[in-house]
Subunit: 204 residues, 4 copies
DNA sequence: TCCTAAGCGAGACGGTACGTCTTGTCTTCCA
DNA sequence: TGGAAGACAAGACGTACCGTCTCGCTTAGGA
């Protein structure tokens, strides 16, 4: 068992430095322009060793991002529910704060430098999160509009707003961003949920 | 002049078949998995000939998309202005119709298969379009919120909604989509434009 | 015939400048490193025009060298015969003088820069010339040794001597070279021609 | 050390098969018409692997020929010295025997198919060898004629004679060739070495 | 003197080979 | 035994020439 622990330690260390190397390189240049050699070199690891742990570059990224996004979602989810239930004026401040604290990472992802894979994983995570939140909001009755569409709408406008924020060097506070976005998204969701049946029938 | 046209004819034809080949291949598989050889073969053109016209795969795509997006924007811009000025209930129906008619192309772009370059060009085009439209809307006075942020919000929510629509095989009509999106975005924009100064001061 | 003349003037000019361009380039760098483009550019002629006249680079060279070597051989042949018949002490002075006057050309050929094709054409020309001369010398009776072998021996030693001369910047006079070479080759040929039958029988 | 040897084994094997493949192909067609692909295919080796070991085709040939010529020269040199010192009637038989045993290779080189590079390396090797031998012969006093010129003369006539021999399918024995060539070259060298000063003064 | 067939330039095109790069597999050694 | 080192096959990359071709311009010579 001690032996296994020892082995594991090295293995985990190797994986960690590989991922760290990838992140480091992704800060500097486009994901597509990074090679397995680059990563191995940057991590001071043999190239063959890379293949002992990951199938390819995407595998390394996905394995780690998956965990990272899941972890963030897990962290944010209860806060979001709690904020909404507690009637906190700005539940989404939680998200903007998360972005604020890891600005370079999100900048890289949202600017497209990280390739579309990462972007889509983040996008999907946000959609799932909001689908769940919205579902909870309309618990009383059915929404006349598909929840998936609402979640897409919310996620798209949120990420897009964040992108604007980051592109402008976060000159605004995260509170400001949360307030504005909240201000804009609330009437949309509320308005939709309260649409009377006539509108729905006329437009479907 | 006739002479020039004749020369151009071959060149233009070659470029056209190359782009057509790329689009054809992109319908079948991921953009990243397509090689220059594939394109040349599919277009029945020598691989060297490809390089006579384009620096690489991205160049071919960008050169053509650029023109395509510009052309679409040019076509939609006046319609959008006109619709808004004329108080047409659903000005954005124009956009959903465009998507409806070229569904496979937009599906490919929005699903991320086309790589981040294409995605970003489309994204930026929509942002520019909306920035202009919103600017026109608030011509009376200054917006308390940055126009760029509003444009990002609109573009993000629009593309995201379109993505949901396409992912669900366009089961809804384009009229429905336009109506829903319009219903959601209008109060956001209007609400923001009409925010009183107090809110702004408190949140800035 | 008049018709042919029309065509010829421009054609001949083009062929001349092409060959001149090739020679000019061959002075500067290795024959193998010269491209058809180079030749056409240097001759201020379209590349396609080159192919109207010659199949390829070798064709251009061969067509012209052939004529050149034949012409030189024709010029030297009678002089050589005459010199030998007249008992002139140094008939080969004619050859060294020819080399002296076109030193850069022969330097290029013999140093191997001209590629093996040119080298071999020159080599063969010299062999043919000497085969004829030696044949004339032993007109009385059969040579115990194959005339071809003698011609090869003579040609090889001659060209090799010339190469040494050129490599040493022709510090010696052509008279000196002719005298030395004559001094060396004469006993060889004479000795062989006069070998008695015993030697031949013992060695064959 | 054992470790290094093991690693080397694969490398050496690869280089060997590459050279063997080149020789095999050179027997069949002109050196210039052989591509790196051909060599790699013939050696059952990836084309990229070729470039791991050699810069290009010429590098492969040169690397191996260099060693080969040096090795042959080393082998022949002492025999030649010994033969001359011991008054052996035909010291050059050694060379003709070498050629006899590797006839196809020398045929290829001397016919010019191997390109001028190979030809010149062989030529220079022979010149160097004879320069050394002649230097040893005239150890007593100075030669009135430059040793380099004598060496060129000898090398040129020797290779030329060999070429005749090979072109005629080696119908004569190597003994015959050695005897004839010896018969021809001896009086040349001897005659020159014994020239009295008058001749030299008159001709210089 | 005008017309007309040629020679010619320009350059697109399909090919082929180049030398480089990256990938993923494998083998050998070392710690 | 896990990891470093690196040989190797495979195959895409972008470049360079090749030889063929089509297109108009020009121009020399016979009408």
């Amino acid at each position: 068992m001690a032996a296994i622990k020892k082995m594991d330690r090295r293995v985990l260390r190797t994986r960690k430095v590989l991922y760290a190397a990838l992140l480091e390189l992704m800060m500097k240049r486009d994901y597509n322009d990074i090679t397995v050699s680059d990563i191995a070199d940057c991590a001071d690891v043999g190239r063959a060793t890379f293949y002992l742990h990951y199938k390819d570059k995407d595998d390394l990224l996905a394995s780690n991002l998956e965990g990272m996004f899941v972890e963030i979602a897990e962290r944010i989810r209860p806060l979001l529910h709690q904020a909404i239930m507690g009637g906190q004026p700005l539940p989404s401040i939680i998200i903007f704060n998360e972005v604020d604290q890891n600005a370079p990472l999100y900048q890289m992802i949202l600017s497209g430098q990280g390739g579309s894979v990462v972007w889509h994983r983040l996008y999907q995570t946000v959609i799932d999160l909001y689908e769940e939140v919205i579902q909870a909001l309309i618990v009383g009755g059915d929404s006349p509009i598909e929840v998936g569409l609402l979640a897409h709408y919310a996620a798209g406008s949120l990420l897009s707003s964040i992108k604007w924020w980051l592109d402008n060097d976060r000159e605004r506070s995260s509170e400001y961003m949360a307030a504005v976005w909240q201000q804009m998204i609330r009437p949309s969701i509320m308005g939709i949920v309260m649409l009377d049946e006539d509108w729905y029938v006329n437009n479907k």
